[in-house]
């Protein structure tokens, strides 16, 4: 009987506990209070600075259009960028109040057909009087690598840590490159039988063949130079290919003086007109 009495008491205690538990939990039909709490959390998160997805999306859209505009405006398409900051505090007693911050940057993208990958460091020194920033290390990787002028120029930019000059000169180089391509293409279309582009539209030289006199050829070599200061300029030269016999017959040394005459022609007429008149010269022979 004791055992049973004990059991009764145990059951009664358990039932009491279960009833209390039941009261804590929401009955079916009621909204669980736990859910109500977490629902209330969301509006609070908004006020903590988290935009709603809709706002974020429109903000992102605006930023992307800004990026696209800038990319078209400058001709530079920056695809990836990252920055790491290291604080290098100066503990020298002589330079109190001076802080140095070293930033490591990684940037990659393209300018037309040239792709670049840059890694550089910027050192920011803040003294009481002023803040100065300087690039302390610069590494440039560029593709394609066939343009020797470009790789020389990249080396010089690296040595001088002149990132700005790299971008500015790259822009002008690409501009000249496109102009050369466009010009050669134009002449190939205008005089398809006379003009030959050995490497296609992107070649750096244009051959002018005389169809009536095979063996006579003029070759215009058009290089794009970048000087020490980063100034980009075209350099055109004329080469002649004539049979030996013709050279012997050339009493007036027209062929010999052709290259320098071409330079004069360039100065007077400009690139397009000079090339056009040169081609017409040999075309006359074709008719």
């Amino acid at each position: 009987m004791d055992a049973e009495a004990r059991e009764v008491r145990a059951l009664e205690a358990e039932i009491a506990a279960l009833q209390r538990r039941c009261q804590e939990l929401p009955a079916p039909g009621e909204k669980p209070s736990g859910v109500r709490k977490s629902c209330q959390k969301l509006p609070q998160s908004d006020s903590e600075g988290w935009e709603s997805s809709k706002d974020l999306r429109s903000h992102l859209g605006h930023l992307k259009s800004e990026l696209s505009f800038l990319s078209t405006l400058t001709g530079f398409n920056i695809r990836n960028y990252s920055k790491k900051i290291e604080a290098v505090t100066n503990t020298e007693v002589t330079e109190e109040g001076t802080t140095k911050v070293l930033q490591r940057h990684r940037l990659s993208g393209n300018c037309n057909m040239v792709t670049f990958q840059l890694e550089f460091q910027v050192l920011e020194i803040q003294t009481k009087e002023k803040l100065s920033s300087a690039i302390t290390d610069l590494n440039i990787i560029m593709e394609p690598t066939e343009y020797s002028e470009l790789s020389e120029f990249a080396c010089r930019a690296e040595e001088r840590r002149d990132l700005l000059m790299f971008f500015q000169s790259l822009h002008f180089f690409v501009e000249w490159y496109e102009y050369r391509k466009h010009t050669f293409k134009h002449f190939k279309e205008k005089y398809p039988d006379t003009v030959h582009l050995p490497e296609g539209a992107c070649s750096h030289c244009m051959e002018i063949h005389s169809t009536s006199r095979p063996g006579f050829e003029l070759v215009v070599v058009w290089r794009i130079q970048i000087n020490e200061e980063g100034k980009v300029s075209p350099k055109l030269d004329l080469l002649t290919k004539v049979p030996q016999r013709a050279l012997v017959l050339d009493k007036n040394r027209v062929i010999e003086t052709a290259p320098s005459s071409f330079q004069t022609l360039l100065g007077v007429l400009g690139i397009e007109a000079a090339l056009d008149s040169l081609i017409k010269l040999l075309c006359v022979g074709n008719n």
Binding site: M1, E4, E7, V8, L11, E12, E14, I15, L18, Q19, C22, L25, P26, A27, P28, P32, G34, V35, S38, C39, W50, E51, S52, S53, L56, R57, L60, H62, L63, S65, E66, L67, F69, L70, L73, T74, F76, I78, R79, N80, Y81, S82, K83, H105, L107, V122, S132, S133, A134, I135, T136, R160, R161, D162, L163, L164, F167, Q168, F172, E229
Partner: protein
């Protein structure tokens, strides 16, 4: 009969008590099981409900995180454009372009041009110094080729910034060598100064005039160095000629830095 009667009376009572207890236990067990089941049911519902909210929350949060990350990424790239020299922000009427200048890796001042992008575009306002030929450049390119306008303006502004930097460095770092202080115009394309250089036996005094006719260049097109001393020694001509070449080919403050190095070299040779 009494004893057995008593016993039979007692027995039923005990049995009745036992029966009551047993029934009670039975009922209590039943109630307890019911309550256990109810508690379980309610707990399961709460769990399911909060899990639901959690998944919705997590999905929403992760979408927010992704968008937030993308936003930060694009913002960073927009910032990075200043390293190219040209960066900017869209405005309600067009774009505000920021031109960043530098000289040999030293990041210098920025200038802005606020453009209204109508057909044709025009300049609303700007911070380009008045001595930069902005009107001339705008007249040439602004209406026809915006990119060309910006890069051309960049050339002028950047070159000015570079010339100014060289002049500033000369004044701040090599004040001791200047016997007549540096004179310059606002465009920093006409500089004149007098300096002394210590040679082996004597010191030479020279005065230099640097003219930068090409406003897009940071090196002078015209350099005149004249000897200021009275001695008729021939040594100074070598120095004078080499200095002219140096000023034409190297940044100003670097030329002066090489003067100091030369002196050090000469001193060392005397000692040894």
């Amino acid at each position: 009969m009494s004893r057995s009667h008593k016993k039979s009376e007692e027995l039923p009572r005990v049995q009745r008590d036992e029966n009551v207890l047993r029934t009670k236990i039975h009922e209590l067990r039943h109630l307890r099981d019911k309550l256990r089941a109810e508690v379980k049911r309610r707990q399961a519902r709460v769990k399911a409900c909060s899990a639901n909210v959690e998944t919705n929350q997590t999905a929403e949060i992760s979408e927010q995180q992704v968008l937030e990350k993308q936003k930060e990424n694009v913002k960073a790239i927009l910032q990075a454009y200043r390293f190219t020299g040209l960066s900017g922000k869209l405005t309600s009427r067009g774009v505000c372009v920021c031109i960043s200048t530098a000289f040999e890796g030293n990041l210098l001042d920025s200038f802005f041009v606020d453009l209204v992008m109508e057909k044709p575009p025009w300049i609303h306002h700007h911070s380009i110094p008045v001595f930069i030929p902005l009107e001339k450049i705008a007249a040439a390119y602004l209406q026809s080729d915006l990119q060309r306008f910006l890069f051309s303006l960049c050339e002028y502004v950047n070159a000015y910034s570079g010339r100014k930097y060289q002049a500033d460095r000369l004044q701040s770092d090599f004040e001791a060598l200047l016997t007549v202080p540096l004179q310059r115009n606002s465009l920093c394309n006409l500089l004149s100064f007098t300096y002394k250089v210590d040679g082996r036996d004597q010191s030479f005094s020279f005065s230099a005039r640097l003219l930068y006719e090409d406003l897009t260049a940071t090196l002078p097109t015209d350099v005149t160095v004249t000897y200021q001393g009275m001695e008729a020694s021939t040594h100074w001509e070598e120095h004078r000629a080499s200095h002219e070449i140096l000023f034409r080919t190297k940044p100003l403050h670097q030329v002066f830095a090489s003067f100091s190095k030369e002196v050090e070299k000469l001193d060392l040779s005397l000692v040894s």
